[in-house]
Symmetry: C2
C-alpha cells in the first residue's frame, strides 16, 4: 500500500484523524514549449490547457476548458483521475491555486498574482520582485489556512515542471537525474536545458535560484509550505524534491513528501536527495482491467496533481482506491 | 453591545465556540460612476481602488494599492479599520473573494470569474450567463468551505452597492428606503436610478433580477450563502437585506444578518424587510477620543467590510473592540 523510500513513515499516522486540506497549485512555464520536453500536450494549446483542465476535473468530474481530459499523445489519462477518485473517497476539502497560469480554469481559484514562467532554456524564469511577491502572497494565504486545517497537502500541475525542478536542484549543488511523465525520458534534452539555465544563477539564495531557473508553481509551493504553521505534505515527485530543498533552505522543518510507487521505482526520480522523509504509495493501477490505467505501472505519467499523497491518504483512512479510480475512469473516460 | 433588530439573537450563541470563517467579497459596479451616488471615492480611481484597498488593509494592516486608506472626501476612514481590529482580536481565518473587481488587490484572493457590474442607470448589470457562472462558482467554493468551518460570515465592499441593493429589493416587490454611507443620503438620485433600472427586469427570478439590476458582489454573496451547508452570517446592512431575499428565494434557510447599530438607527436601512433575524452590534465609536471614529455615531460610513458582524463576534467571544479600533486608528491613520 505504502512504504518509506527515505526517512520514516511516522507522519502518516497523523493523517488519519487530522483536518487535511488539499491545495492544488497550477501554473505554466514556457519551458514546456521546447519541442519534445513534456508529455503534457501534443501542442502549445494543450500545454496551456492541461493545468486548468486538471483542476476542473477535480471540481466537476470533467474538464470544461477542453473536451475529454488531459492525456499523453497516445491516450494515457492525467493523474488527476486518481486524485479525483481519492477526493471522492476521503471527502477532504480542496482549493485550487493559480500560480502563473496561461489560461484560467472555469472553477473558483485562489490567485497569487503569479507570472507565467519564462523558458529557462532561453532566459531567466521570473523577475526577482515577482518571485518575492509570489512567495509573500503564498505565505499570507498559508497563514490563513493554518487556522482552518492541521495538515496542508500540496499537489501540482505544471507541464515541464520536472525540467525546472532539475535546474533548481542542479543550481543547489546536486546532480539531478530527472524524472519525467514519459517512459522514454528525454534526459539528454533536459540535461542540456538545465546546463544552459544554471549558468544564469548568480548565487545560491532560494529567491535567486527560483528567479533564474525555477517556475511559479515551485515558488508558490515553497512559500505555501513555509507560511503554513503546521505539518505539510508535498504530494509529488521530482518537483517536490526540489521544493523540499528550497523549503529547508528557508528554515521550515515539519514536512514530508508523499509520491507514487511509479516515481519511486524510477531510478531517475532523485527522491534520495529530498531533505525530508519520503513515502511512496501504490495505487495498484497495474491490477486494473483498463489499459489506460495499467500504463502507469509501465512508467507512463507516474505522478502529478497530488496523486501519490492523496492515494496515501485513502489508505491511511481505510479506503481501497483502485475500484474508485476504475469507476471514475468508466464515467469520465469511457463515459459509461 | 448587541441586540436583535428583527427576529431573535439566538444564533449569536453559536458563534462563541464554532469555527467561523470570514469571507470578504469585493467587486465593482459602474453604477458608482454616477456623480454623487457614493462616498467611496471622490473620483473614478477611488471607486476602483476602494475594494482592493479595503482587502489589503485586512491582510497587511495597511493599503498597498493606494496611499493612506479608503475614506470619505472629508476623511472619515473605511469600516475596514473596525474589521481589521476585530480580526486581530478574534484571530479567525480570512479569505478575500474577487467578485468583479476593476483592480486586483495585492494579496491572495479567490477569483470567481466575475464580471464588473454595468451601470444600472444605463443598462442591465450583467449577462445572465455570467451570473449563472458566478453563482455556480460561488456555490462550488462554499461547498469546499463547508468542510473546513462551521459558520461562514460574509462581508462586502462595493461602492454604490446600496443602490443596486435597493433596485433588487424594488424588483422583488418591496419599497426600499435605501441606506447610504453618507449622512446626506442622495435618496432622490438613487430613487431615480432604481426606477429606471427596474423597468429592465423581465421576471422575478433571482437570476433575472441580479442580471438586470444587481451587481456581482450581490450575486456572489447569494451563491456563497446558498452553497454553504451550514449557518451563514451576512455581515452588512442594506446590501445584505437584498441578499437575504435572494437567498430565501433560492431555498436556503439557516442564515442571519449582523450589522452595526449605525445602520439599525438609520430609518432608511430597510432591515425590517430582511427574510431572517437581524442583530445589530455597537462598536461604541461614539465614545472614541478620535473624531474620525466618532463620526460613525453621527451617521457617517456606518457599515461595510463586515464591520457589524465582526464586532458582534468580538463581543460574543469576550473582547472589547473599541480600544483595539483606536489602537489600529493610531497605527494606520495617525501612523504613531
Amino acid at each position: 500500500m505504502y512504504y518509506a523510500v527515505k526517512g520514516n513513515a511516522d507522519f502518516v499516522e497523523f493523517l488519519k484523524n487530522s483536518r487535511v486540506l488539499f491545495l492544488l497549485v497550477i501554473g505554466n512555464t514556457k519551458t514546456a514549449e521546447v519541442p519534445g520536453i513534456t508529455a503534457a500536450g501534443e501542442n502549445k494549446d494543450l500545454i496551456a490547457y492541461t493545468p486548468p483542465a486538471d483542476a476542473e476535473l477535480l471540481y466537476h468530474g470533467k474538464c470544461l476548458s477542453i473536451s475529454g481530459v488531459p492525456a499523453t499523445p497516445d491516450g494515457k489519462p492525467t493523474p488527476a483521475l486518481i486524485s479525483y477518485a481519492a477526493l471522492n473517497l476521503t471527502k477532504i476539502p480542496l482549493l485550487v491555486v493559480d500560480a502563473g497560469l496561461m489560461i484560467k480554469p472555469k472553477i473558483p481559484y485562489v490567485s497569487l498574482n503569479a507570472p507565467v514562467g519564462e523558458n529557462i532554456a532561453e532566459r531567466r524564469a521570473m523577475n526577482v520582485e515577482d518571485v518575492e511577491n509570489l512567495i509573500s502572497n503564498s505565505k499570507l494565504l498559508a497563514k490563513q489556512l493554518s487556522k482552518i486545517c492541521d495538515v496542508l497537502m500540496i499537489g501540482e500541475s505544471i507541464p515541464a515542471g520536472t525540467t525546472t525542478a532539475a535546474a533548481v536542484l542542479k543550481a543547489m549543488g546536486f546532480e539531478p537525474a530527472v524524472s519525467s511523465s514519459m517512459p522514454e525520458n528525454p534526459i539528454e534534452l533536459k540535461r542540456k536545458i538545465v546546463e544552459v539555465a544554471v549558468r544564469r544563477v548568480k548565487n545560491t539564495e532560494p529567491l535567486e535560484i527560483l528567479s533564474a531557473v525555477g517556475d511559479p508553481v515551485l515558488a508558490a509551493v515553497t512559500g505555501l509550505a513555509c507560511g503554513f504553521d503546521k505539518f505539510v505534505v508535498l504530494a509529488g515527485g521530482t518537483q517536490m524534491v526540489a521544493a523540499s530543498k528550497l523549503i529547508e533552505a528557508l528554515g521550515k522543518r515539519d514536512f514530508a513528501i508523499a509520491t507514487t510507487k511509479y516515481v519511486a521505482k524510477d531510478g531517475n526520480a532523485d527522491l534520495n536527495i529530498a531533505s525530508c522523509s519520503v513515502v511512496a504509495s501504490d495505487p495498484k493501477l497495474g491490477l486494473s482491467k483498463y489499459d489506460g490505467l495499467k500504463a502507469y505501472e509501465h512508467g507512463f505519467v507516474k505522478e502529478g496533481v497530488g496523486a501519490g499523497g492523496l492515494t496515501l491518504l485513502c489508505y491511511v483512512r481505510g479506503f481501497e482506491i483502485l475500484p474508485e479510480v476504475e469507476r471514475c475512469y468508466e464515467k469520465i473516460i469511457l463515459k459509461r
